[in-house]
């Protein structure tokens, strides 16, 4: 015998079907309109877990890349400063070699001495230059101007400059395992081969300005000190440039990894449009069918056949 089908059974089944199809339609509507299929753990715990991993990794790598970009700016500025120092020293060396010429009169030598004095001030400015408020050559003591004039001679010219920055380089954290020296301890650079670059220029200037029988010797010594300093500066340019090169390589690696993580995250989180649209249409048809059946069911009644 066929079971008794009451209006409550029909209503229960129809409403259950409509609720089910509506929920599916809502899910696929959301997935299609937002482009995201997983927005919370319960959508798919393992996928959410993996997606979170890729999202976090992407975020970390982005930070690393930002750190590299920022560090590269600093190192680029330092390289430029070192190149400028090297150029200044080249000029000073040229002046010193010109000064050796015994035919030059005192006026010409004094004029060359003035030029060296200007170079000394320029050198001091470069060694005390900063980027974003941090001194390039003060090492760990970022906010302390690294080189300071401690005395002037009787002509009011600089006679001594000392280093007051840190003895250690400031370290920038690129990744959780990789660090890089950023702001250099200027004292080590300035003390090339045990001689102070500033002192070499001061000695050169004084040798040119003051008419002395030891001038030739003094100029020769100054030239030697400048050559040693230039070698030292060139060495540092090489060191910092190689750090920049390492950073560029790292950035390339991180960019590739970032792309991969983003791609994985997107694969996991993003809506598969082909599937979602097919299922959206399916849910729509099923919902329409359920509604049509509901309307049709309630339009039939035994009452219609009663006289």
């Amino acid at each position: 015998m066929a079971p008794r089908i009451t209006s409550q059974i029909v209503a229960l089944q129809l409403s259950s079907q409509i609720r089910h199809h509506s929920a599916n339609l809502h899910t696929y509507n959301k997935a299609v309109s937002s482009g995201i299929s997983i927005s919370r753990p319960s959508d798919d715990v393992s996928k959410f877990h993996m997606s979170l991993y890729h999202r976090m990794s992407y975020g970390r790598l982005s930070t690393f890349v930002d750190n590299i970009t920022f560090s590269s700016n600093i190192l680029d500025t330092i390289v430029n400063a070192l190149i400028n120092i090297n150029n200044l020293l080249t000029k000073a060396h040229l002046i010193a070699s010109s000064g050796v010429d015994a035919t030059l009169d005192q006026l010409s030598l004094a004029s060359m001495g003035e030029e060296v004095d200007m170079l000394l001030h320029n050198l001091l400015d470069i060694f005390n230059s900063d980027i974003y408020g941090s001194y390039l050559f003060s090492g760990d003591l970022l906010n302390i101007q690294p080189f300071s004039i401690t005395s002037y001679n009787s002509s009011g010219r600089i006679s001594n400059i000392i280093y007051v920055g840190s003895a250690s380089n400031s370290v920038g954290i690129i990744t959780h395992t990789q660090t890089i020296p950023l702001y250099l301890a200027g004292g080590t650079i300035e003390q090339a081969g045990g001689n102070s670059i500033f002192q070499a220029l001061i000695d050169l200037r004084d040798a040119l300005l003051i008419n002395s029988p030891q001038r030739a010797n003094a100029l020769t010594n100054a030239m030697h000190s400048i050559e040693v300093a230039r070698d030292r500066i060139s060495e540092y340019i090489g060191i910092v440039s190689s750090r920049l090169s390492v950073l560029r390589d790292l950035q390339e690696q991180f960019d590739t990894l970032r792309y991969e993580h983003k791609s994985m995250q997107s694969n996991l989180e993003s809506t598969d449009y082909a599937e979602a649209i097919v299922k959206l249409n399916e849910s729509q048809y099923l919902l329409q069918a359920s509604m049509a059946i509901t309307a049709r069911y309630y339009s039939y009644s035994f009452l219609d056949y009663l006289a």
Binding site: Q8, L12, P41, S42, L52, N67, H176
Partner: protein
């Protein structure tokens, strides 16, 4: 001959009464759990017509009890799914994991870009607020659950009183039983708690699943919610009641077990995070240099009692605290070591130790339970464990092996000790350069930033990774919801199936009723025609007399 008329009359009367019953059925066709009534006609004695013998109320006690059972399981799953989904939604929106990650990103950025200090402190503030807000949202859900439970208990009490009234009156009239749709009221209760029906006296007798009486005959035993600490339990005059299913069972589970468990995990994670960061900040040096004053933020109830007896949120270990005192005049730095035993030493003892150090004064407020350390004029102090000036034995890797600085919140980054109380200290919002980024005191030194970053992979105290812990919490909530989503699908289907089967037996098919009504109509018409025919016969017989 009058018997003929009475027979006809009985047919009309029985048909009329049956049409009434069918009409009642049709009218209640959509009443939930309405039991169809079948009019049962019986023949009168001595061939004197027909009677409406009785009204059969269709029922199936086995299916009915199954329905109650399925209802309380269905509504248990439904309630858990609904509220845990809200918890998940709050947690997903709080996005604590990302915000914690932002802190670490900004710390490493700060090591290369010193202008990033505002972003760094802002990310710390945002993460602290997210943790706090999520915790508060859980507490709000919990408070709302309590109100809902009170409403449910009132509803159950009203219904059991109604059932007891029904029991006391049911013997008075059979029609009363029919007019009452008592099963739907029992189902209302079964939505809320797990019950069972038993034979005890006449009427509906209800017990809880564990056997505590709710309704026995015309007696009912009202439920009440009791508060024990932060938990709620249900009881009536027979004692406390265990409710395992139904909405109330789910609400009690969420209130007493699930939400506190989530809050406890969040508290543990936050507590460890706060302590690690506070320890690192306290044992580092900021761009502003050494300290001239530092006050604790976690009060000690009894300043004269040993720490171990004070039930502090953080343990203090047997160990050392090294304080470095710098003389501003000659820039010499001297290290002093305080040996701490939490079973012996009190806050007052520590204060006295500190005050005995040259250049330092310390005081303890018995009212607030806080300690304040000040340097005397011409001195500064820190806990970074640097080597002395002039140098002696070298720097100390951990200057606070007792963990007292983080336990008391001295020179820490955060106030509080849990998700509920976490807050970035106002002084860092006002002056971000107070963040201890170095261990040497040199502004470019990033040793302390490296220590902060190391907490990403392991905590300073327990070795637990905060990101993994938060990830586990998120995943466990997601898995829990999925379990109950599947359970809800299953219990819904089972409930619907049971309801359908029960409806097949007790429900009203209006077409069937209309067919019956047509039959009764025909019966009425036939009886009427019979009376008319008998009347004609009477007329014929009487006319024969003329």
């Amino acid at each position: 001959m009058f018997t003929h008329l009475l027979i006809g009359l009985s047919g009309i009367r029985a048909a009329n009464q049956s049409i009434l019953v069918s009409g009642h059925n049709v009218a209640n066709a959509d009443t939930s759990l309405y039991h169809r009534i079948d009019p049962i006609l019986t023949t009168s004695k001595y061939e004197s017509g027909v009677l409406l013998g009785h009204k059969l109320r269709l029922q199936d006690n086995v299916l009915q009890n199954q329905l109650y059972d399925k209802a309380n399981k269905k509504f248990y799953s439904d309630t858990i799914f609904r509220y845990v989904s809200i918890v998940e939604s709050y947690m997903a929106n709080a996005d604590i994991l990302q915000k914690i990650d932002n802190i670490f990103s900004n710390i490493s950025r700060y090591s290369v870009d010193r202008t990033n200090i505002y972003d760094l402190l802002s990310s710390v503030d945002i993460a602290a607020k997210s943790i706090h807000n999520f915790f508060t949202n859980l507490s709000n859900i919990r408070n709302n659950l309590r109100s809902i439970m009170e409403e449910h208990v009132n509803q159950i009490n009203n219904t059991i009183r109604h059932i007891a009234d029904f029991n006391s009156q049911r013997s008075k009239s059979t029609d009363f039983l029919i007019s009452e749709n008592i099963e739907s009221k029992i189902e209302d209760i079964s939505e809320m708690i797990d019950i069972k029906l038993v034979d005890y006296k006449d009427g509906i007798n209800l017990l809880t699943a564990e056997g505590a009486p709710l309704v026995l005959g015309d007696n009912y035993y009202q439920l009440e919610l009791n508060y024990a600490g932060s938990n709620i339990y249900l009881s009536n005059i027979f004692g406390s009641l265990n409710v395992s299913y139904g909405r109330l069972g789910a609400l009690l589970f969420l209130y007493n077990d699930y939400l506190p468990r989530i809050q406890s995990i969040l508290n543990s994670i936050s507590s460890e995070f706060i302590r690690s960061f506070n320890h690192i900040n306290a044992t580092g040096i900021s761009r502003s240099g050494e300290l001239i004053t530092a006050t604790s933020t976690i009060p000690v109830p009894d300043i004269a009692a040993p720490f171990a007896s004070q039930n502090l949120p953080y343990n203090i270990f047997t160990g050392e605290l090294v304080i470095s005192v710098t003389d501003n005049v000659d820039n010499t730095r001297t290290n002093y070591t305080i040996n701490i035993d939490p079973n012996i030493h009190s806050l007052l003892d520590i204060s006295n130790f500190l005050s005995s150090i040259p250049g330092i004064s310390s005081s303890v407020s018995s009212q607030s339970g806080l300690i304040t350390i000040n340097s005397l004029p011409g001195f500064r102090f820190d806990f970074a464990g640097r080597d002395t000036v002039p140098p002696s034995s070298g720097p100390i890797s951990n200057s606070d092996t007792a963990g007292i600085l983080s336990a008391l919140g001295i020179n820490g980054l955060f106030e509080g000790y849990s998700a509920d109380t976490i807050r970035l200290r106002q002084q860092f919002i006002d002056n971000p350069s107070l963040l201890a980024s170095s261990r040497t005191g040199e502004t470019g030194n990033t040793d302390n930033l490296t220590r902060f970053l190391e907490t990403r992979n392991r905590s300073v105290f327990t070795g637990k990774n905060i990101e993994e812990s938060l990830n586990d919490l998120l995943s466990s909530i997601g898995s829990f919801i999925n379990t109950y989503r599947q359970d809800l699908d299953y219990t819904n289907k089972i409930y619907d199936e049971t309801y359908t089967k029960l409806q097949e037996i007790i429900g009203v098919d209006t077409n069937e009723e209309f067919i019956k009504i047509l039959g009764f109509q025909r019966m009425l018409q036939s009886s009427s025609k019979y009376i008319s025919t008998v009347n004609n016969i009477f007329d014929t017989l009487i006319n024969m007399l003329d």
